[in-house]
């Protein structure tokens, strides 16, 4: 095979491999990922057993019993809220009014948070205020 043909063959093989890898990646991405939902979206369309990534603000008045915390998460700009039960230590910046991201699964009336998936966003301007 002359060099130009060899080069074309190599290119085609490389491209095919890339497409296959990309396809595999796409497939696993969609099946292994969790959908992001706001509280109002979650209330409407959550299927039990499926994991969702919930984002929203913590409502004041959460309670902790031992290592379990029961808190509510509301829409960023609204009042619809969902109850979340989370087991484990809360992150340092966790506070009422802070934005959180947590992977949850619907279990009856409550959404159970997955272990270690609770992330509290750092406050917006690095200032020591704002509840």
């Amino acid at each position: 095979m002359d060099p130009a043909r060899k080069r074309t063959v190599r290119l085609v093989v490389a491209l095919c491999a890339a497409v296959l890898l990309a396809g595999a990646l796409m497939y696993t991405s969609f099946s292994a990922s969790s959908e992001a939902r706001t509280p109002s979206q979650l209330l409407n369309t959550a299927q039990p057993g499926k994991t969702y990534q919930l984002t929203g603000k913590v409502v004041a008045g959460y309670e902790r019993k031992g290592t379990v915390t029961n808190f509510r998460v509301r829409d960023r700009a609204g009042n619809v809220s969902v109850p979340v039960r989370y087991e484990g230590v809360l992150p340092d910046p966790f506070r009422a009014g802070r934005e959180v991201i947590v992977d949850v699964r619907k279990d009856g009336d409550v959404f159970v948070g997955e272990k270690d998936s609770l992330v509290t966003k750092c406050p917006s301007k690095f200032t020591a205020d704002e509840t």
Binding site: L25, T28, S29, F30, A32, S33, S34, E35, A36, Q53, T55, E63, R64, G66, T67, E87, G88, V89, L90, P91, D92, P93, R95, I101, D103, D116, S117, V119, T120, K121, C122, P123, S124, K125, F126, T127, A128, D129, E130, T131
Partner: protein
Amino acid sequence: MLVAGKACLILALGVCVYGIGASLYGARSGRRQWVASGRRAVYALAGVAVVAFVILQAAFLRSDFSFALVTTHSSTTTPAFYRATAVWSSQEGSLLLWLTLLALWSSLILYFTRRRLREIAPYATAVLLGLGAFFAALLVFLESPFDQTIGPVPAEGVGLNPLLRHPSMMIHPPMLYSGYTLFAVPFAFAIGALVARRLNADWIRHTRPFTLTAWFFLGVGIVLGARWSYSELGWGGYWAWDPVENASLMPWLTGTAFLHSAMIQEKRGMLKVWNVSLVLATGVLAILGTFLVRSGILESIHAFGASTLGVPFLVLIASMTAGSIYLVVSRAPQLRSEHRLDSLLSREVVFLLNNLVLVLMCAVIWWGTFFPLISEALTGRRHSFGPSMFDSLTVPIAMALVLLSGIGPLIAWRRATAANLRRNFRWPILVAAAVFVVALLLGAGDQPDALIMFVLAGFVLGAVGQELVRGVRARRVMAREPVPVALVSLVRRNRRRYGGYLVHAGMAVVFVGIAASSSFAHEQDVQLSAGQSASIGGYTVRYAKPTAELVAARNGRLERIDLGADLRVTRGGETTVLHTERSFFPSAAPMLGPVSRFFEGEATSEVALDAGLRRDFWASVAPDTRRLDARVKEGDKVFSEADKAGALGPEDRDRLLAQALQGLTASYASNPPAATFRLLVSPMVTWIWLGALIVFCGGLIALWPSPRAVGRRVTAAYAARVGREARVPV
């Protein structure tokens, strides 16, 4: 000085715009005075940016609250070190830092190349000034650091977020930014080389120190961030695959790939398209990294920053990407390889594979990071990866990387002698086998991923060790030096090679630490009352006693309340006493009561960490403050009634507040509620930090300029000249 600062920034913008025009005009018309003037514009930019930065820095240091930025990010009670570093804790300040650093490195490279790269440098200048103009424009029009405080000048500022009061956290941004801005230099020169159609390795040679330094600083920034996360935050992990973390890792990966493939271009004139694309991608990724932190388009723990910056950054990134692609495609003829590979059995091939693996790793991380946006664009719904998905994708790629980093040192350039291969691989494979056996004996068998990584790391360390031994032996044959001296002169004369080997060894150690601490960690969240014990990973942990303390700031005001626990940690008969606590900082929000504001502000953790070579014991506490609620409310009520009655002067108020809080802390200490603890036993975490140290030592060795080659001599005998000037390697 506010006006002076603003004027400096406007001047900076003007200088950038002028410099772009002058450089381009000078390049096009061949009139070198304009090119020189454009270069001076860069020096002037550096000067003006430094002046602006000093103005801001001075305002922070003397707590000048007429600066809005100082008021919102500092206070008189903030210690001097943190006042100085608070400059870049803000959006505006960090943009100014970015601009200043960019200007400084640009000045350096242009000074060093002022008589060289004459066709490329003007275009590179224009690109660097273009980036400078972008940031200067942001600072002038959107995010000015020199805004005046609205209203009367307050007596006290809001203070630095307590989460940032840690040395690592304050060095981390300048390190990262130095890395990002340093990557702009090879980016600009790559663009210049493409525009000028001068695509041999000259531009690479001159920008290499900057690429290496960028790699170094960015790496340090990443490790500092991980270390801070582990030892200062209450979650006990060092990497969360957060978009912002990923954003700093991606340019580092492509930068590493480039450092390798650049060597191939220098030696053999190959991979020109690949190299130039890598450098351009690294530059774009560096800007992308800056953008992700500042724009909030992805859900992230670091998603601070006004989204007003999102659109300008997007425009910049899009133009950089489009321009790069256009240039590479249109210069394709000049980017043809000069040679082909001599043999499949050569270091060049290993470098190629390593490049592919590194880029694959970067692509996978990129995909996972931007997947929420991509999936939203494709399906209308945001989907996101969890950390475990990232792990399962990157672990196999990391294994391939480690394997290649061991094979590389064992194979010769150009064409290795196949017969020698068996001899070269023997000892490293033996070391790997020994590690395999030891790991199995130590119980690593039930975690195959970790086991494989240990074995591969053993292979790398064996390979590097063998290379050092053989190199020293070769040197002693030539120079009869004692072993330590031989080692030093070997490394001195071959810095790139041995610095690189050391980096590989360090990375192997890092991966061992990561594998061990991820696969064999024990974690437990447990609630303990005073006196109770828990057991984890061979340790018995007893909540010995609660602690409660009021901590005053330098000016006598109360800075924070520390509630914590003393822990008696026993393992195998030995007991250590460790202490962990939570610090509660008061909120500045006006509507809160004077006592309750302490529990509505920020809280930071002081982690109990007993680090060792074999394992770390880590504990954090979340004290239960609910029982104090009643007393807190009462305290608030008392104060508000006293305020209404006008009975309290400020000094009395402070005294009574201190008394009330002291009562609070005493009651916590004497009658503590059960507290929640996170306990963590992670094996070999220290290896990560040690490995990183080795990596950076190796990087320094590779960076350090070699002793100057003997000057050229003009003789007729070329061959003799080659013999003389090539210098003996050992």
